[in-house]
Symmetry: C2
Subunit: 333 residues, 2 copies
C-alpha cells in the first residue's frame, strides 16, 4: 500500500474580538472546501481557531471568560464543520478553548479549562485529543505589558501527556499522528516524547505575536519567524516525522501575529510556506516512508540514545548553576 | 565587568593517515598563533584533532590501534601546543582519542578507550574533560560499506555525563563552559543537559562525512551541512548559549568530510562560518549577557518545563509503536 498522503495547512487571518463563531466556522468550511479541491485528505487549522486569541484580554473572574471556550464539540455553532468533513471525506485538526467537567489531580470533580486540539475523522469521530502542556505567558494582570498574555491564567497545564495514535488518514492507511500546540514547538522534550512513539505526522497550531514584549531591545523582531521555523524543522529532523504548523496570523484586536505556516518533511525541509498573513492554504504530498530513514539510521533511538546520561532532564525542572573551577582544581571542578 | 569574550574556531583540513603528530601539532600552533593575532581568548580545535579519523580503519584487535590514541596530555608530541597556549595566554579545546587505565563499571581496573575532548587553561591545566556519549557507526566490520565507521568498536560510551564548569575564560571572568562531540550535536537531550547547568559556551568538534552511506538514495547529500547547522542552531537557541562547532574537513584518506564550521549565538544566528574545507580560522565576539534573555524569558526552565510529561525520555531508550485507533474507539485509542 502506498504511504503517501496529501496534507493541508489552513492558516487563518485574524479573528477580531467581535467576530462570531458562525462567521469563523464559515471561513473554516471555505478553507476545508479549498483543501478538498486541492486533493488534501487532512486539513490542519490553528490553535484557538474559533475565537480571537482571548488570553490577551484580562478577566478578574475567569468564569466571565467562559464564552470563549467550547463545552461541546460539535456544538450548534461548529456542526457545519463536522458536516463539511463528512461531505468532503476529509479529516481535520482544530484547536479551541475547552471547558470540561472532570476530576482534578486531587480527585475533585470541577469545571476545568484547557487549551486543546483534536483530530477528527471524516465520520466526525474524535481520534486524538491533546491539551497544551507548555503554557507561556503569565497568570496575573501585568501592568507593565501593553498587551496581556494570560495563558497561565486561562488554562490548566494539559493532563493528557503527548499522545500518539495510529489511525486511518486518507488513502495512506494507518498513520502515527501526534500534536503540539504553539509554544510546545520550542521544547525538544515535547518532540522527543512524540518521537519515542514513532510519530509520523505532527499537527501543530499557533498564535504567535510578531514582537516579544519580554525582550524589547534584546531580541530582533525579524528573528521571530526564524525561531519558529528553526524549532519545527529541528523537531521534524531529529524525530524523523512530518510537521504541519499552522498560524492564526495578521492584526487581531490591534495585535500583530505572524503567519508563515509551514509543512516540513523528516529531513527538516520546508515543503510549503504561507506567504500572506491571512486565510491561506498550503498543501503538500507527504510520503510517510521517508520517516523510516531517520528512524532506522542516524536517529535509531534504540541503537544510539544513552538515557543514563539524561537524568537531569527529569530530575530538574529549572537550571542550576555549575560548580566553579579555579586554577589548582582538578578537571571538572 | 564586561562579559564579552572573543572566541575562535580553528577548523582543520584533512590529516592523512601517514601524517605525524609533530606535523599536526605544528598546524595547530600556527592556527593558535593566528587566533591570538585576531584577539581570540579561546580557540576550539575539532574532534580527534591529532590524527586522521581512524575509526574508518578496521583492526581485528583494537589494541593494534593504540597508536592513534593519547595516553598522556601533554606528551612530548603535544607539548608545543601547551607551550604556545602559555605564550599567547589563550585557552584551547581539543579532541583526541584517549587511553586511560581506570576501573570499568564493574570495578575492574583496565585499559579503556574514549573519544575525548578537554578545555585547557592558558596555564596548561585541564579545566574540563568530556568523553563522547553518542557514538555513531557500528562495532563490527561491515562488508557492505566502502568505508568503515567503527566508533562503536574503538570507543566506550563516555562515562563523565555532560559536565559544565564555571571557569575563567579570557577577560570575561568566569564562563559556564560545556562540550559536545560530533554526533552529540544532533541529540537535543545532550544540549538540554548542558542547558540545565546554565551553559553559556558549548565547544564542539566534529568529523562528518559529506555523504551518508546508510542513506544512499534517500538523504540528499546537499542537506548534510544543513542538518549539522540546524541541530547546532536549535541547540543554542533552545538553551540560550553560544556554540563553537569546528570541523576536520576535506578529503582525508580518500574520504570527504565537510567543513562549514560555525559560531552561533543564543538567538541561533550564525555569526561566523568557515568557507574552505581546509585549515581556517573563524572568530567572533560573544557577549555572554545575551544568554540571559532566553534563560529568563521563553526558556525560563523553572517557569515553563513540565517534567511530569517527559517520562518517556528516560523510561524508554528505543521508540515504541503507538496504539491503533479504529472507528468506534474512544479518543486516544
Amino acid at each position: 500500500m502506498s504511504r503517501k498522503i496529501t496534507v493541508a495547512g489552513a492558516q487563518l487571518g485574524p479573528i477580531q474580538k467581535a467576530e462570531g463563531r458562525d462567521e469563523v466556522v464559515g471561513r473554516l468550511v471555505r478553507l476545508m472546501e479549498g483543501a478538498h479541491r486541492r486533493g488534501a485528505e487532512v486539513v490542519v487549522f490553528p490553535e484557538l481557531a474559533l475565537t480571537t486569541f482571548f488570553p490577551r484580554w484580562y478577566e478578574e473572574d475567569i468564569n466571565n471568560a467562559d464564552h470563549w471556550y467550547e463545552s461541546a464539540l460539535p456544538s450548534n455553532a461548529t456542526a457545519p464543520l463536522f458536516d463539511a468533513a463528512r461531505r468532503f471525506n476529509i479529516g481535520f485538526h482544530i484547536g479551541y478553548g475547552e471547558i470540561v467537567h472532570e476530576p482534578d489531580e486531587g480527585g475533585v470533580q470541577r469545571k476545568r479549562h484547557f487549551n486543546t486540539a483534536v483530530y477528527v475523522h471524516p465520520t466526525g469521530e474524535v481520534v486524538l485529543k491533546y491539551r497544551k502542556v507548555h503554557l507561556p505567558g503569565h497568570r496575573d494582570f501585568d501592568p507593565k505589558r501593553k498587551v496581556q498574555h494570560l495563558e497561565k491564567r486561562y488554562f490548566e497545564v494539559g493532563n493528557l501527556g503527548f499522545p500518539v495514535v495510529r489511525a486511518p488518514v486518507g488513502q495512506a492507511g494507518p498513520v502515527n499522528i501526534g500534536m503540539l500546540i504553539c509554544n510546545d514547538r520550542r521544547w525538544p522534550e515535547a518532540w522527543r516524547v512524540l518521537g519515542l512513539q514513532q510519530v509520523e505526522l505532527v499537527m501543530l497550531g499557533y498564535n504567535t505575536p510578531s514582537t516579544n514584549q519580554d525582550a524589547q531591545g534584546f531580541e530582533a523582531h525579524h528573528l521571530r519567524v526564524e525561531h519558529s521555523h528553526l524549532s519545527i524543522r529541528a523537531g521534524c529532523y531529529q524525530n524523523a516525522c512530518f510537521g504541519v504548523a499552522v498560524a492564526k496570523a495578521g492584526t487581531e484586536d490591534g495585535c500583530e501575529l505572524f503567519g508563515n505556516s509551514i509543512i516540513v518533511n523528516p529531513q527538516g525541509q520546508i515543503m510549503a510556506e504561507a506567504v500572506t498573513w491571512d486565510d491561506e492554504l498550503i498543501v503538500a504530498d507527504c510520503d510517510l516512508e521517508q520517516c523510516e530513514l531517520g528512524r532506522n539510521s542516524i536517529f535509531n533511538f534504540a541503537a544510539h540514545r544513552r538515557t543514563e546520561a539524561y537524568g537531569r532532564i527529569l530530575e530538574q525542572t529549572g537550571s542550576v548553576a555549575p560548580d566553579e573551577w579555579k586554577p589548582g582544581d582538578k578537571p571538572n571542578g
